[in-house]
Symmetry: D2
Subunit: 347 residues, 4 copies
Amino acid sequence: MANRIRIAVIGASGYTGSDLVRLAVRHPHIEIVYLTANSQAGKPMAGVFPHLGQLGLPDLISNDEADWSRVDAVFCGLPHATSQEVINALPDHLKVIDMSADFRLRDAETYARWYGVEHTCPELQAEAVYGLTEHYRDDIRNARLVACPGCYPTAVLILLLPLVKANLIDAGDLIIDAKSGVTGAGRALKQNTLFSEAGEGLSPYAVGKHRHGPEIDQELSLAAGRNVVVNFTPHLIPMSRGELITAYARLTDGTGVVDCVAALAGRYADEPFVNMAPVGVLPSTQFVRGSNNVLLGVIEDRIPGRVILISTLDNLVKGSAGQALQNFNLMFGIQETCGLEQVSLFP
Amino acid sequence: MANRIRIAVIGASGYTGSDLVRLAVRHPHIEIVYLTANSQAGKPMAGVFPHLGQLGLPDLISNDEADWSRVDAVFCGLPHATSQEVINALPDHLKVIDMSADFRLRDAETYARWYGVEHTCPELQAEAVYGLTEHYRDDIRNARLVACPGCYPTAVLILLLPLVKANLIDAGDLIIDAKSGVTGAGRALKQNTLFSEAGEGLSPYAVGKHRHGPEIDQELSLAAGRNVVVNFTPHLIPMSRGELITAYARLTDGTGVVDCVAALAGRYADEPFVNMAPVGVLPSTQFVRGSNNVLLGVIEDRIPGRVILISTLDNLVKGSAGQALQNFNLMFGIQETCGLEQVSLFP
Amino acid sequence: MANRIRIAVIGASGYTGSDLVRLAVRHPHIEIVYLTANSQAGKPMAGVFPHLGQLGLPDLISNDEADWSRVDAVFCGLPHATSQEVINALPDHLKVIDMSADFRLRDAETYARWYGVEHTCPELQAEAVYGLTEHYRDDIRNARLVACPGCYPTAVLILLLPLVKANLIDAGDLIIDAKSGVTGAGRALKQNTLFSEAGEGLSPYAVGKHRHGPEIDQELSLAAGRNVVVNFTPHLIPMSRGELITAYARLTDGTGVVDCVAALAGRYADEPFVNMAPVGVLPSTQFVRGSNNVLLGVIEDRIPGRVILISTLDNLVKGSAGQALQNFNLMFGIQETCGLEQVSLFP
Amino acid sequence: MANRIRIAVIGASGYTGSDLVRLAVRHPHIEIVYLTANSQAGKPMAGVFPHLGQLGLPDLISNDEADWSRVDAVFCGLPHATSQEVINALPDHLKVIDMSADFRLRDAETYARWYGVEHTCPELQAEAVYGLTEHYRDDIRNARLVACPGCYPTAVLILLLPLVKANLIDAGDLIIDAKSGVTGAGRALKQNTLFSEAGEGLSPYAVGKHRHGPEIDQELSLAAGRNVVVNFTPHLIPMSRGELITAYARLTDGTGVVDCVAALAGRYADEPFVNMAPVGVLPSTQFVRGSNNVLLGVIEDRIPGRVILISTLDNLVKGSAGQALQNFNLMFGIQETCGLEQVSLFP
């Protein structure tokens, strides 16, 4: 294992943590040194996630049992608010890839309003780089602390940023109808994510109140050069993994659907993980399950002057652990696709 | 069985036909005389739908085996194009409730364009009453031929018609993101409705091309008093039954969200099957499964001046067989809720 | 509402309670007077179960708010151990249909061993009649306290009791492979019943330890006239409702598969809710969903001298609330099928 | 791509073919030269399986377009009966890994009886090696034609062969209750595998008639040294991938459950893909999804002298394409785990 980068996964007992482990354990330049989960400390990882048996993983420990001098990088999968304090206490030599929500919002006040608590580390908040790989690659390469975007913002921003930046669509009239599988709600016990409640049915939720709304606003505002507020309407879909965004936009004067296609295809031509759906195929979550891929589609609206924009990804991979690993690769000068070549699992 | 109205179900081997039978067999004023299905003629109904065993149903026959003099009313669940010819050949004394698409569009040219064939019975097309019960009740009461709306149009129109009629929302800027369970595609064998393809995933389909688009346009145009074209974007959801509409509308000047709530609540106050979701609850397909109910919700958009409108129903009940039976009740002077009191099945 | 029997549902916030309400609210001879749920007291029922809106139901109250003099019968859907104390405190004029596990086992010691607590009301335990309707009809008719069987035992015993009683199969060699939907685990929050954990997969659980094992033993021992211990192996299936039993038995000398078919068909010829699957059709949970029906099948084994026996039911209906209502009908001299005529919901 | 083994996948438009491609495209010693599918010839693979886009795969061709001199090995995923003729026509220099059923049965007469057609290549049938890797490793290493076992037989035989060989269980009294996800039925259009029919429910099927029955008999008979006929009862489960076997066996005299555990643990101690479930965990399909792993469990029966044996695998991986690739590795002297290291995908 010489020459491997030594990592720890903090908060390894949740779905993002376990999916990070799934990917990292096969990464040729990674050695997993610690898996932490305070509530499950002492257990073998396979006792908490039996699909991760036989992989030679370290047992779960509590956070304070780790000797951080033995570690080069930390992936953090803790809940928001918890995350910032734990990361703040880590020694400086560690590079940190945070999969929580704590450093996504650049503005302390916005954070306080949407997350209901004051941010305790505003200086770290200022330092953190927003980890949307395809759009902040240079910053990520040099960052010490990367805040990986939420799953929804990743899908939305990859789809809309190039179009807003090129002023092809009106950033003031963006309807974002979002659909997510149930893993998006995490492993915490909630009545509405029980199989009997979420199965065989479909529910809108957190309409107008979802915390990914202001995160999307923040990045689209930067791109548009003015204050943007979007419609963002999430729905819970009876599937475990996967996320699909159907966005409805007004084309700016003189712009056609083909311009949108060209802008997206051009912008992502060299990106390994972002692709346009083949002609005649609409993006579908099944086509990206388990992979780090994003699939985009552009369709003419029946209403003249409008366009329908679609993107899909696996919320636990490109929407979380996969993008985190992609950022890790960048931060350590490793080929960006390394450890992320898994082909989508279909059916 | 004296005094019962004698019915036949034409096309009883599909899902709409079988759900009609499920309801009709318990209707106190109905006697099921014939079940027809040309391709399955000779089989017992329980051989084709084992859940309909032990109900004393007649065996399936082919259409031309029926002695129509023994029948008072016909429910037709045939595919489009087939339906019109079969209905045209029926004797005049029969009242007909058509669950197919053949008589929903009032305009022969629109029909030809969207269904790819010329309509062969334009005079019947002109006679047919559009069977959206809550909005055409008087016409239905006196009709001989009722064309039950598509499942999507039912959900959309119940939600939007009162708001468009009252000019509370801009009919020229309607985004309709529609989600349906897989039974919406019928019992025909298609690759994309196999369990392995439709399960654990979500797909947009027929975007900009779905035949329910012009049907929605037709009714909203009538309501608005001008030509309306809507965005209509259907998605296939991994569930069997259920449909949910998330519509995005621009409020007209001076209108607020509360006006929309008031308009819908007022319009449907006396309707037995249409209700506003309770405060704090968003409509969800699980809450109407198996029943003839529609549940509506109105939510403030994050974008000022816009509103989010939601409706949900069971596509096979209020979206098809249930509404057909509701219309039957009207046509025969029976209490409208008769045979439709099933409580939703949850979980 | 004159002449209606006034009922209360104790523990109305669980799935068995809500399914009882779904059925009872349409029962022509029932008036629902109270719905109790201590933890949810004060809420409208539709706040806890939105599918039960618009039904004129009373709000939830705590148990001690009820004036029992206004009530004729009580359905109890509380968890085991709780149930016995609550029922013991009820006044004597009430007939009680208990859907919990507290009075199913006749032997106090067996109860203590399997449920981990001493039974506090052994005299009630002795009084209680085992509510397997088709096999204890006369006792139920005259009972004050009926203990409705568990969902699995209902499916197993309807299938096996006639064969064991007639000595057609060897009661000492019964393998019972049981499969249940996730509602069988109730509405309590557990990690293994989250959608993300129970979906897209299948798990055996509680193998050799499930509390329905001794309940099955008890009844088969009575039927066989000797001590019977069965194999009972439950599996959690990714569906909400439904239960299917595949039992493997050794035929006694001289017995053939046709004898088993004849015995079951004969025994249940006049039973409204128990039927043999049509020729060429195997029982499947889809065929009984939402109804009070049981479907049975008998198939020749490849191993000579053995037989495969199948039964299926909806665990929340015939496996719980439906059978409870069937027993209520018996106890009050009402037609046994009253309020239970719902046709299965398929698809 | 020098030094890579050049392969073709015949029948690449089915699920086993596509899953083989998913694995092979990342295999460091494989070059995919041809993908054939007569009915889809001319299409890009991503047109038939959009999840396989962006992988640089060759377009689909018809079988007779292939220049076999450019190929070293062939994977065949055709339906039975078709497979034998196609394989018979291939040149001798090709190593063939057949994933169809055509060469699994060693006896021509048994084949004819169960598959309804005479075998046309009995000499190939005699030559073929049964590709149950862990039990025929040496034969496979030297084979030209390997017949990969059915998905069910793989799961059953890995579980039972060591116990039957060691005479720990009675081979004459084996009950095999088998549960499979819907992909087991392939991509062909069938009514019972539609989402609306297979979803939210569970069905036994092909009971006593499944073609994997004689295949299991064949191998267990060889192991037992006498003619064995097993009970084999498959059930269709509403999930796409995964298979779980619950087998019920009688222990031979003097044998205990611990002997079974020891025998299985010992037999598979050095096997990379076969493992005992961790203590306290029962095998579950979720834990092996997408991987080549088999998970085994042994549990004491409530009936003295009996034991419950469980195994689970992904029917498309270890049950088909994965085991095929494992055999390929063996045949070409490659590390057996090469290309098969994917960690299970959970949730």
